[in-house]
């Protein structure tokens, strides 16, 4: 990883995505975008606005409403000299392309003997808290991480969005980039220079001594806020951003757990078979001798996400829930 020294700029996550993809398309003319309404509307949440004008509709290419073909043809293009960035508007639509993800994208290199580069990015977004109901409100990075052969990253902050998206576009492997609708408008400083994060490296977003919180995306922001609040009460919280969901940076995460001896893992995936279970297992086994208390999993209860605000609020953890979980351990 080469984090930046030097100039920084305050930017929203949404603008970072647009800028980063623009830079990568300038840099390499094999990079192109395909998906629903990526031209005109600028794709999901209008993130790509203007890229069609800059690069033309050949490279910012509207597909029909055909997720199988969108993902599958991206794979074929990647295998033959292009570097597609496929947008799947909501992660809930990934299921339509289930076979492409499970059997083609994930397995093609390996099955063919390991030598075929497949430089392909699939961008999609997790959505929670938008009253979008069960099909549109989902977080599914655990679901793709459960498929060996896929690299899966979660972007959370403006800075990691840039570093991870560049890494994904430049990788010769398929990388699934999960964005999150709830952080698109979050702003923070981003180094202006060109930098690429290592896929597979977690980051300590905020160092601390008493409790470790491992958190992604929206929950990372909640965790940082919780840490702020609790520091006033004299509790020092270390916040870890896994960045990559698969492969997971076990070392960094376990090391933090061993230091604090107390861990909360919080994520928007379901409590059973979600990211939290993988984190809890990893930490429980790896920091076994240093844990003072059981790892605490926080996430979405095992229900589809309900529509009504009172119900949705109930099932998705908020900052208060993170605070409470930390207090339970501290």
């Amino acid at each position: 990883m080469s984090t930046a020294a030097g100039d920084v700029e305050e930017m929203a996550v949404r603008d970072v995505i647009n800028q980063t993809l623009g830079e990568e398309m300038e840099r390499d003319d094999r990079v192109y975008i395909q998906g629903i309404d990526v031209s005109g509307r600028g794709g999901t949440s209008n993130i790509l606005k203007g890229l069609d004008d800059r690069f033309g509709t050949d490279r910012v290419r509207n597909t029909p409403i055909s997720e199988v073909s969108m993902v599958g043809s991206g794979l074929g293009a990647a295998a033959t000299g292009m570097r597609p960035v496929v947008e799947v508007m909501y992660c809930g639509f990934l299921g339509v392309a289930g076979d492409q993800l499970l059997n083609q994208v994930a397995k093609m290199r390996y099955m063919f003997g390991g030598e075929l580069d497949l430089p392909m990015v699939i961008r999609t977004k997790n959505v929670m808290g938008a009253n979008a109901a069960a099909q549109h409100s989902q977080a599914l990075h655990h679901w793709l991480a459960a498929i060996p052969g896929l690299k899966v990253v979660c972007t959370s902050t403006p800075a990691d969005t840039k570093g991870l998206l560049k890494a994904a576009v430049r990788s010769d492997d398929p990388v699934i980039v999960f964005e999150h609708g709830g952080v698109y408008n979050r702003k923070a400083e981003v180094p202006t220079e060109d930098y690429v994060y290592e896929i597979g490296e977690a980051a300590i977003e905020r160092p601390g001594d008493d409790v470790t919180v491992v958190a992604t995306q929206n929950q990372l922001w909640n965790a940082l806020e919780a840490a702020d609040r609790l520091s006033a009460e004299g509790i020092s919280v270390e916040v870890v951003n896994p960045r990559t969901i698969s492969p997971l940076d076990t070392e960094t995460i376990v090391e933090s757990a061993r230091k604090t001896g107390r861990c909360v893992v919080v994520d928007d995936t379901p409590l059973s078979y979600g990211t939290q279970s993988q984190l809890s297992a990893t930490i429980s086994e790896g920091a076994f001798w240093d844990l003072d208390l059981p790892v605490k999993r926080l996430g979405v209860d095992n229900v589809p996400i309900p529509f009504s605000p009172t119900l949705e609020d109930e099932v998705i953890p908020g900052t208060d829930d993170v605070v409470d979980a930390i207090l339970d351990l501290a």
Binding site: G40, F93, A132, L311
Partner: protein
């Protein structure tokens, strides 16, 4: 557009008035909901059916209570045309416990299984396999029930459409596909979503499956009704599936908040001249089926109904948060 032959003169006056009432109800319901959404009373996403009322209305008028239907993200019109109550619909859109789905579904998932309405669906083409299964079930249970699936032009590009109609073609299922061609899939026009070979007649997508293909003016409720009647009769008689393209237009954005940058100048205005909410009452009045006063009465009556519906929704309670954990399974609770 293929002509429907001579229009049967046989549509009873009462049915015509009923269809007008249904269209008025859809339009008024949605116009009010549109405002309430703008006022942030209605949460979530909102895809309005305004402009397409003649389609749901004409189709559902041709169905019997025992028939099934599946709908889309743009489903309010289908629900109302099917006879769902506007109060429980409004309550659902408001996220209240008195709603059709107890607040769990919202606009994109309204369903009333008791009315054979197997749900709106947030996945493009998601309802088609379900309707196919209902058609299969109808046949296996030895009934003459028919299953109707509403979907947009965009859904024709999904594999689910293809697999379902292929299966229905093989098994001769009583499945009726209603392609609501409203000229756009989201913000993209048909010509970017379908090959040139299909643009003039989207029912060509049904050609491989041997479906009966029909194409009608989706702004003409009677044309839609009559085509559907014919297709339904055929399906009930065991003569297999049909695909009806209803050519229309949506007057509002893809969803509320859509800037509608993609509409060519004048296009909307031109289509609005064919607004069934203008043309149909005029026609009924011309035909002597309705007086201007009766028309006003209908409008007023339905306005009042919708007002009540909104009041009902407003006055209903939000579900208790604990209800979030109910209803995943038949045995009640959530997963352990």
């Amino acid at each position: 557009m293929s002509s429907q032959g001579e229009r049967s003169a046989a549509i009873a006056d009462q049915e015509r008035i009923e269809m007008l009432r249904t269209m008025v109800r859809i339009r008024k319901f949605e116009s009010v909901i549109q405002n309430k959404f703008a006022d942030a009373e209605v949460p979530g996403f909102l895809h309005l059916y305004i402009g397409q009322e003649a389609i749901a209305t004409g189709v559902c008028q041709a169905l019997e209570e025992r028939d099934y239907l599946t709908s889309t993200h743009r489903g309010h019109g289908h629900c109302i045309a099917r006879g769902l109550e506007t109060d429980r619909m409004a309550a659902e859109l408001y996220g209240k416990e008195t709603g059709y789905c107890k607040g769990k579904g919202g606009s994109m998932h309204i369903a009333d299984v008791n009315a054979g309405m197997l749900g709106a669906n947030g996945i493009v083409a998601g309802g088609i396999p379900i309707a196919t299964g209902a058609a299969l079930s109808a046949k296996m249970r030895d009934t003459d029930e028919v299953a109707v699936s509403f979907f947009g032009d965009g859904a024709l590009s999904e594999g689910a459409f293809h697999e379902s109609f292929n299966q229905a073609g093989i098994w001769d299922l009583p499945l009726l596909g209603i392609v609501e061609n409203n000229q756009y899939g989201e913000m993209t026009g048909l010509e970017e979503q379908h090959p040139p070979s299909a643009l003039d007649d989207l029912t060509i997508y049904g050609e491989p499956y041997g479906v009966t293909r029909m194409r009608v003016d989706g702004m003409d409720v009677e044309a839609v009704y009559e085509a559907t009647l014919e297709a339904v009769e055929q399906a009930r008689n065991g003569d297999g599936p049909a695909l009806i393209e209803c050519v229309g237009y949506r007057f509002e954005g893809h969803h509320e908040g859509d800037s509608q940058f993609y509409r060519p100048d004048g296009e909307l205005e031109e289509w609005k001249q064919r607004d069934p909410l203008l043309t149909y009452p005029r026609k009924l009045i011309d035909d002597g089926v309705l007086t201007e006063e009766e028309h006003q009465e209908i409008e007023a009556e339905i306005e009042a109904e919708i007002e009540d519906a909104i009041e009902f929704a407003r006055n209903s309670d939000y579900p208790d948060p604990q209800q979030a954990y109910e209803g995943v399974y038949s045995d009640g609770g959530e997963q352990a």
